[in-house]
Symmetry: C2
Subunit: 717 residues, 2 copies
């Protein structure tokens, strides 16, 4: 695997190495020396004989020994030639620092394509361009020029050099953890996010992957790889570029198509990724997840030496969906024995001064609390670590004893403890001890809560882990010959949409419950069909030249009686002729009006980052006014189909409100799965729109269906 050779390179050529101290090519060599890089360093620059004591080569291919990786610090225009030379030498990868590519407009985009082409033909994989670089902290291969990066077991993958710098600075100042690798993905021109992930999944010294993402070029494969990774290692991800301006900003510097959305969030979570919303919490959550056992039952106890912190923590944890259970009677009785009568021994536990004279009581409380089977983890909030500072210096010994006990307790019970301490920034020894035992300590109460919340979220994911999630299509596997024939007819006729009868037939082929329609070519035929329907009928124009039937006056609903049907037929056809005089009118579709039920909308579209996604919502104001919809990246499993229905706020309506019986959710789920199957069967489909689907106590009916095809040739097709 070339990534292994690249990220663990035993030799680096620095193209553009320089003697001038302000040049990137000087700093690069300087840093490799300072960081005691284990591998070999080969400066390359036709104008120099040596750089910092190393012999300097005219070009990469002049180097006698093997070269695993090239760090290219020369300007954008020089790169294709350098890559050709690297190819000659058998270099596996190149880190390209220069900007001025896709992020800078059309000219840069062209240049980037040229670079990727050169890389492909030379069998060189590219990190970047427009990247701050890459680090392997185990070997000292620091290609970023940032000293003092803290070592540890977290792999960092970032689309912003400054965010990487932020996280490393934070780790250095506030933590005892650090990084195994850093990759600045830059424009993601060649090596994609999922390839890095696939390396870190297997990398033995990496226990968690921390990612800052603005936009991805192959979101679907990333999801698939993430899904496989998160069963073994947590992935912690912040996706920025939610807002319009945020996207403008992201676009201006990485050339990526940014944009988080509900689609992305639900997809990431389905792949088991911990999605972080606030940059403050990003490193702490990664640190916590790489160090502590996850919470198996979503239940946390809070231990406090004052009410305010406990109250705020309870609020935040509740918002995060974590339970704060009542503890067993036995637990409460045990706590009562060691705490003053004014203490609260329910959860949250407030020691009410019971630790003032002896903070080792905290460890006693922790021991009792973590023994309770209802409690999956402990959040300690308040002054711990500061008793020796605030009250009496001698108390620090008790705090240190307490820290040792709590540290061992985490191992014994395999339940996590996270600590909020007001005195964290004073770095008392007791808190360093806690960190030694991998207990997370934060001076921010919000952060401490979010960290224990992440342990609970990871525990929920692992408990409910679903082996059938799949983000990869088996294109065409379930296509039916008749379905393929429909698509091909449409293509042959040069259309990009299916006529309603074609669309409905396609659904029918895949088992979906469409309304029973028949095509009438004359007013008489229409009247005959309508008579068969009994009661009310719906009439709709069928023409390859009319996609928007309503706009063309091509729809009449609730038509009753022969005379009315004939008149409706004539009107519809007349309207269509006026709308488009040259329209090829195939006839009018006549269908029985569906009995009243609950209107749903189901649709699919192509997301820029993740490809085909499916949407579900309740028709009418719920979707149109309240935008109450759920999305899933396709394909979906039966469980996903059920879960996405639960994601809409209006789910209660489906469950039956105001005395109504529940609607047939199993039948709705089947339609969602049928849509998934159809997308997988016919990669030509760009968009489907079922609006409305009408749900009943038993069954559903698809009343209107639109299917739009992609333009041109199609991947997987």
């Amino acid at each position: 695997m070339p990534l292994k050779r690249i990220l663990n390179a035993q030799s680096v050529a620095v193209v553009g190495a320089s003697k001038s101290e302000t040049k990137r090519g000087f700093q690069a060599v300087r840093t490799l020396i300072d960081e005691k890089y284990e591998g070999k360093i080969f400066p390359v620059n036709p104008k120099e004989k040596s750089v910092l004591g190393f012999r300097c080569y005219e070009k990469v291919s002049d180097i006698e020994e093997p070269v695993d990786l090239a760090l290219i610090t020369t300007p954008a225009g020089t790169i294709p030639a350098v890559l050709d030379d690297c190819g000659k030498k058998g270099v596996s990868g190149a880190v390209i620092i220069a900007g001025g590519f896709r992020e800078s407009g059309a000219e840069g985009r062209r240049l980037e394509e040229e670079v990727v082409e050169a890389a492909n033909r030379n069998n060189v994989r590219i990190i970047g361009p427009n990247t701050s670089g890459m680090m392997n902290l185990k070997t000292g291969m620091n290609l970023v020029g940032l000293p003092d990066a803290p070592k540890g077991d977290i792999a960092l993958v970032s689309q912003s050099g400054n965010m990487a710098l932020t996280l490393m600075t934070e780790a250095r100042l506030k933590s005892h953890k650090g990084f195994s690798y850093y990759v600045g993905v830059g424009n993601e021109s060649d090596i994609r996010f999922h390839e890095y992930l696939s390396f870190f999944k297997e990398e033995p010294d990496t226990r968690a992957v921390l990612m800052y993402v603005e936009g991805m070029r192959d979101g679907r494969r990333f999801l698939q790889e993430a899904y496989k990774t998160t069963l073994h290692k947590p992935i912690i991800l912040l996706k920025s570029g939610r807002s319009k301006t945020g996207r403008r900003s992201a676009g201006s510097h990485t050339g990526a198509l940014a944009g988080i959305s509900e689609v992305a969030r639900s997809a990431f979570k389905r792949a088991g990724i911990i999605v972080v919303e606030k940059s403050d919490a990003l490193f702490p959550i990664a640190e916590t997840l790489s160090s502590l056992p996850s919470i198996r039952n979503n239940r946390v106890a809070i231990l406090a030496d004052g009410g305010g912190h406990a109250t705020i923590a309870a609020d935040i944890l509740t918002d995060l969906g974590v339970e704060i259970p009542e503890m067993e009677h036995k637990t409460q009785e045990r706590l009562k024995k060691i705490l003053p009568f004014t203490a609260s021994v329910r959860n949250p536990v407030d020691v009410a001064g019971g630790t003032d004279a002896d903070p080792s009581i905290f460890a006693e409380c922790a021991r009792i609390i973590l023994k309770d089977p209802h409690v999956g983890g402990l959040l300690l909030v308040g002054l711990f670590g500061g008793y020796g500072i605030r009250f009496a210096e001698s108390l620090k010994w008790k705090e240190e004893d307490s820290a040792h006990q709590m540290g061992k307790l985490v191992r014994k019970r395999d339940k996590p403890i996270v600590v909020h301490s007001l005195y964290s920034s004073a770095r008392p020894h007791s808190l360093d001890l806690l960190r030694y035992y991998n207990i997370s300590v934060y001076d921010s109460l919000d952060t401490a809560c979010e960290c224990i919340g992440a342990l609970a979220e990871r525990g929920r994911y692992l408990r409910e882990y679903h082996a059938k999630v799949n983000f990869v299509f088996n294109w065409g596997a379930k296509a039916r010959p008749e379905g393929r024939a429909i698509i091909e007819t449409v293509r042959k006729e040069g259309r990009n949409f299916l006529l309603e009868p074609e669309a409905k037939r396609l659904f029918q082929i895949h088992g979906a419950p469409v309304s029973e329609d028949r095509l009438a070519r004359t007013a008489g035929e229409a009247a005959a069909v309508a008579a068969d329907c009994g009661g009310e009928a719906a009439l709709k124009i069928v023409s390859p030249d009319i996609l928007h039937k309503t706009d063309a006056g091509g729809v009449r609903l609730n038509v009753i009686g022969e005379g009315a049907v004939r008149q409706a037929f004539e009107e519809i056809v007349g309207n269509a002729r006026r709308y488009r005089p040259d329209a090829d009118i195939r006839g009018v579709m006549v269908s029985p009006m569906a009995p009243p039920g609950l209107e749903l909308i189901i649709g699919t579209k192509i997301d820029d980052q993740f490809g085909p996604v499916i949407m579900f919502g309740l028709g009418g104001v719920m979707v149109e006014v309240l935008r109450d919809v759920a999305f899933r990246v396709l394909p979906i499993s039966p469980r996903s189909a059920r879960k996405m229905m639960e994601d809409v706020r209006s789910i209660a309506i489906l469950n039956g409100v105001r005395g109504n019986p529940p609607y047939d959710k199993a039948a709705i789920a089947r339609v969602l799965l049928q849509c998934s199957e159809m997308i997988e069967s016919y990669p030509e489909i760009a968009e489907m729109d079922l609006n409305p689907v009408i749900a009943y106590e038993k069954g559903v009916r698809i009343v209107d269906a639109r299917v739009i095809l992609k333009e041109g040739q199609v991947e997987g097709g």
Copy 2:
């Protein structure tokens, strides 16, 4: 004003003063000495002759000189006697440290009542009990025993001693600002939140009020005082106890009835309070609002030296409702002249390395950006302050120059600059310089964004300041004699609810559009009334013994024709007799069925903290399933009535969707105002429920109305 004498006390008696170093009564005297309290210290303890060199008195009344304030450190049971003695001496206030009062159950509640009684009869005001104490940092009157509290111009009012400690620690470690006063309100047994506020409103050395609140005993008067204060000084407030467990936790330690809710949030915001959700942001926002001009146009420019920070900042600001406008062409041209061609000169501005060699370019950019009339404030994100650390030491002079220029720029333009710096915790001189100029600097990007967001929020409030907001009722002012007569009849009959005809008449008296009903005493009368209605009629039982008419089978809708009306009358009366055989049946109300329209629900109830509140929502699933409702504390102004309609997510339906015309919002607003007027007129009303109110393109109609009265005697009544 006694609070002035208390909070600026020139002399303090320490009741329970002690020679034992571990006692609160020793620490109290010790701290006053250490903090160089300007006033006089009088230890009081019958068992001691002197404490720490001060003569010790047997009781407060033995002190020869005037005593402004007593700090009482003795246990709960001793307090009433101490207060009697304080009263004899003419002491204005007492800070009561002891716990064991209302927060500890029924016995404590009784004791607290006794203490308040003693205070009242002795004309002594109480801070606490169950408080960590109080500080006047200007005079060194530190009654908390916490050293090193940083001085400044923010008044801190907190219901948790630990939260106060947290905020002071944070201020000391991360800021150059601090506090003018601290008050621990404890159980709020006597002096209420609004009284402290009223003092700080006038206090000349206080520029902002920072509050941590779990529950309030007189929320309405607090709102009124806050509304008056925020025009001149910002109030920054965190209200915890949102969650059920949070409330349980709060209840266990302050005895307050906690519980934030949409009611509280909307009320606080209406009073101009900056409501903070995260404790991390609490002090920074207070610091920023006390130091920097607010943003007049809600528009912020972002200046960055790297994309990641700018993208995240744009996301957060957008979420906070702040605009990130495009800047004038002129501005962009000016920026282009001083930045590299790869820089982005739109907003966010990314200098793209343009400051690497000279960070004073930041000040140049700031000057150009703040000159733009579209820009109301500047957020600088990234590495500023760290150029001298990260790149070359000599750059620090440029950074310091830049800091001076930006500092002066804030004054010149009267527009704020907030800075995020990765290097904040390294405390480079340039960042201290920024702080000297009152520019806020944070190492958390989230916090920096929230701070500039708060400046924008305060600017929006001041720009839209509405002089007609009022949280105080003028009880009975608009009562009508006939309305009073109805209420009195109900009372006389020993009922706690109005019959529907009474309720509707009451609304009618106040001008509200109720349906036209008539009471029928016989089936024949009912048929005659129904005939007058034309078309369909609704029949409802009228009985003082039946509140829930539907449950009693006492409602028939859409009744057509004489026979059906007679039959419905008999059925309703029969059902009612079966439901309650002894029911006093006054007859059956017959009304024309309202034409179809949009169903609304309007109601009022008494909130535990704020008193009467009004609720508005769209009927059916919007309220019942989606809980899509808006609340306002009463009374409301016409503007509030309009604004609360806009608060529901389903407002788009009112505005007309799917081709429907808009509904008559002015008429709906009038009903909301009529409800407000009625609550103010008749303080006996506990609850009103208008369900449904039907809205039309023109006008609205109240179809059903319930009015419930309070039990027993009524304040203001």
